[in-house]
Structure formats: C-alpha cells, structure tokens
Amino acid sequence: MIRFTDVSKAFGAVQAVSELTLTVENGTVCVLIGPSGCGKSTTLRMINRLIEPDSGTIEVDEVALRDYDPAELRLRTGYVIQSVGLLPHMSVWQNIALVPRLLKWTRNRRMDRADELLDLVGLDPATYREKYPRQLSGGEAQRVGVARALAADPPYLLMDEPFGAVDPLTRGVLQQAFKEIQARLKKTVVLVTHDLDEAMFLGDRIAVMKEGRLRQFGTSAELLIQPADDFVADFEGTDRMIRLLNTVPLKSLTGWNGTGSPTLRDALNELLQSGSATVYVVHPDGRGEHLDFEGIRRMVKP
C-alpha cells in the first residue's frame, strides 16, 4: 500500500505538488492524470525517491519512505518510462535480467526468468532473447520494458506514460496486454498518463490533478457520474455519458466482433448499427437480457 499524506514539492518558484493526500490499495491500479505540469510525473517519482518531497510523508507498506535505503527500495519497485530506457549495449534478455543481476541471482536462474517474462509479455523467447534494443520496434521495446520492470517480481510497479511513444493501434494492443498481465499478477500499480481513455480502461481508481493539487480521486464511474468540480467535468470532455457507458462491462454481446470484453458503449454502437430495436447482452453475473435504448439509459442513469 502506498500512502501520501500532505505531500508538497516545489521547484524554485513553481509549486509542483501541493498537499497531496492519497492512498493506493494493494493490488490496484491507480492512474494519475491531468494536463501538463499538473505534477503527476513528479508525484510518481517521489514514490521511488528519484525526487524527495519538501514536506509531508509518503509511506510504503506502513513504513515512511525516508526510512528505506533508496537503492533497496528501487530494487523492489518496477519502473517503466515512455522512452523505455533499454541499455543499448546489452541484449534483450540481459536487459530484462538486470535487477535479478543486481540481486545476485545465478545466471541460469536469470536466463530462465527472462524467458518466462518474454512469454508473459507476448514475445517469443527464442526469437527475442538475443536481440539488441536497436533491432526492436516501438511496441516490442515497450513490452521488453515492462518485462524488465517485472523481472524481480516487485510488489510495486510505477509507469510514466508507458504507451505514449507508439502508434494508436499498438497502444491499444499494449493496453490490452497490460490489463491481462495485471489481472494475473495483481501488482500495486501507479500509472501516469494524459489519456483519459487509457486511464479509464486501465485504472481501478483515478486521481485527477491540476497545478499540483488533487481534484478528485475515485473510480471512473464516480468521476463520470459525480465530477468534483468544473475542471474535472471539462477534463472528461463533452462526451461524458458515452464514456460512462464504456465503464460498464458485459460478458458478451451478440453481433460484436472486437477483442477483449465488450462494454455497454459497444452495445449502444451495435444497437445503432444493426437497426434493430434491441440487442442481446449477457452481464458478467451471467444474466442475459434484451436491451433497447431505454434499457441502456436506465443502466447508467437510474
């Protein structure tokens, strides 16, 4: 668990973070989102002590950060950045196995672990393990970056705009892959992004920040239904209700051909596309029903 209590940080005259109080529960994904300069990256980097706060406390597992040795802390915290930061003079498997190497694992154990992780992120070990970073595409490199962060099985994962440097198609694929991995591993993740769709897709709870202050912290539904102020509402955009539809998952939807699981928004889309009066959906609890427009509307605005 990560807990911020009244944390502030200034760079010269600029107050990057003001009195931030927020708790990230174990096994959840917390997304920090906001416009440029809102302090989200700064906040992230205070967790693994790349930046030190001016005031306030940050606790990880009930222990204050400053009571941890920074290097030890970082060995237990995976860190993924937009530019990935793979060391160009090391092969893919050597990059992935870096933290295990710092932890003095044996070579065999490291190589096995690298293969395991390549598999996890969807890359064939035999093909990729001896490649060098310059031979990888953007998407492949990003996957390796995630694999590297997970190598020593850290309880915490920090991600700073991890999918920002790839094209939208690849981004979608990577987001889906991440969601699946997280479902399996149940890490405690703090992720920074400026893309609201990504935030709502990946995040269990979302922290909206502006100019260093936390504006709202809650689930996507909470944010959409009850935005804390005008800023949050504006940030969500004029299609708030459509987004809200997107947060309601369905088990299946007749006539739908997408990847992953469909949502209520896909149901609306299907309804409009097919021209029929209703669509047939199966809810996650197994219940099936025919939905028309009124039915869909009732699900989000009871």
Binding site: L75, T77, I81, G85, L87, P88, L98, V99, L102, L158
Partner: protein, 242 residues
C-alpha cells in the same frame, strides 16, 4: 578478412625490414651505395624499438588511468563545477605543441627517460580526459535515470551503464593519446630518452641517409601499427553497442 589484414601485414613487413639488421643492410646498400655505414652501430635497433614502445606505452597507460579517473570524478555530482575549468584548460593546452612540453620537462627532471615519460604522460592525459568527460556526458539521461530507478547504486551504475556506453569515445581518446605518444617519443631522443629517434638524429648528425631512413621508417611503422590496432578495437566496440 584477408583484405583487412593486408595493411598491418605491409606495415609489419616494413618494420621488420628496418629493424632487423640482416634484412636492412643489403637493402640499404642498394639504396644508398655511398654511405659508410648502414646499420646503427651503438645500440641494436630492436632494443631501441623496445625502448620506444615501452616509453610511450607506460605514458599512455598511466595517462589512461589518471585521465579516466579524473574524468569520472569530474562528472560526478560533486565535481560538476570543475568541468568548465577542465574543458577550457584542455582547449588551451591543445594549442601547446607536444615538443614544448617535452622540452620544458627538462628543467624539472633533467635529461633521460624521466622527463620524456612525464611529458608524454601529460600530453596523453588531455585527449583521454577530454574524451572521458565527453563520453560520460553524452549518455542519454533517460538511460541514467532508468538505471538509477532500477535500483543501481552509483558505483554499479558507473560500471554497468555509464562506462560501457562511453567506451567508444574513451577508446578514441586513448587512441589519439597513443599515437601522439609514439610520435613525440621519437623526439624524446633529443633529450636522451632512447627510442627510434636516436637513429634518426644519429643520421642527421653524421649525414647518413641509411640511418635516417631506418629510424624514420621504423618509427612511422610503429605509429601506424598502433593506430591500426586501435582501429580494430574501436570497430569491435562499435559492433557490440551503437
């Protein structure tokens, strides 16, 4: 592969031809029939070659050690304020001819090998130090941050990330230093340091073309071979990283 070896083969053959008396003497007799002597009598050429290599080798090695050390220190957070000074000092020192340093070392150390090694050391220091600083500074800061964020302590980060990435540039500096060392060691003969320059000077004094050519050719070959060696090393490194 064979094509690559063509150059060092030629260089080595020429070197051997000048340094081994049994080979050189007949050749010189043909080229310079009017000379009285053909092979430098006092000290065997091989020994002079050895002196030459040892002198420049020690100086370059010492300069590499010190230069890299200082370069590393200066690029650590505590030493950063020294960088402008070091850079400008190096730039200024670049304009000083190596000969000047060599010659000015005499009042300090007298004649012989000591001032030569010292001067060569000082002169090799500059390119190595400058390149170490440049090499370490041009590393993408994102990579440095990723390394720290992973949990590497400063020492580990230096060894695993910074040095390997700076290596090509640093090696280029050592190469420059080595070539300058070998070149200036030739002039070291004038202050009594031995080396292949002795033969050239003897030739100049006695007006003996065979001596001059023997000394000049061998010195040139040594320099070119050293340069070629570093070229091979650099190519290997570029293959590895880049």
């Amino acid at each position: 592969m064979i094509r690559k070896l063509r150059r060092p083969a030629i260089l080595t053959v020429l070197l051997v031809a000048t340094v081994v008396p049994t080979v050189y003497e007949p050749v010189a007799k043909i080229l310079f029939p009017f000379e009285s002597a053909y092979v430098y009598p006092r000290i065997p050429m091989l020994q002079l070659l050895g002196q030459h290599v040892v002198l420049s080798g020690i100086a370059t090695a010492a300069a590499a050690l010190v230069g890299m050390l200082v370069g590393i220190i200066v690029t650590r957070p505590r030493g950063v304020s020294l960088i402008p000074l070091v850079r400008d000092l190096a730039a200024l020192a670049q304009t000083v001819p190596p000969v000047a340093v060599l010659v000015l070392a005499v009042p300090l150390f007298g004649f012989g090998t000591k001032p030569t090694v010292f001067a060569l050391f000082l002169f090799s220091l500059l390119p190595i130090l400058g390149n170490t600083i440049t090499g370490l500074q041009q590393i993408d800061s994102g990579l440095l941050e990723a390394s720290t964020a992973m949990g590497m302590r400063p020492w580990r980060r230096l060894v695993l990330t910074e040095l390997p990435l700076a290596a090509p540039v640093i090696i280029a500096g050592v190469r420059t230093a080595a070539v300058i060392s070998v070149g200036t060691a030739t002039i070291g003969a004038t202050i009594g340091a031995g080396g292949l320059g002795v033969v050239i000077i003897a030739g100049l004094v006695r007006d003996n073309l065979a001596f001059i050519t023997a000394g000049a050719l061998s010195a040139a070959m040594v320099a070119l071979l050293v340069d070629w060696g570093f070229q091979m090393l650099t190519d290997r490194f570029i293959d590895l990283s880049s």
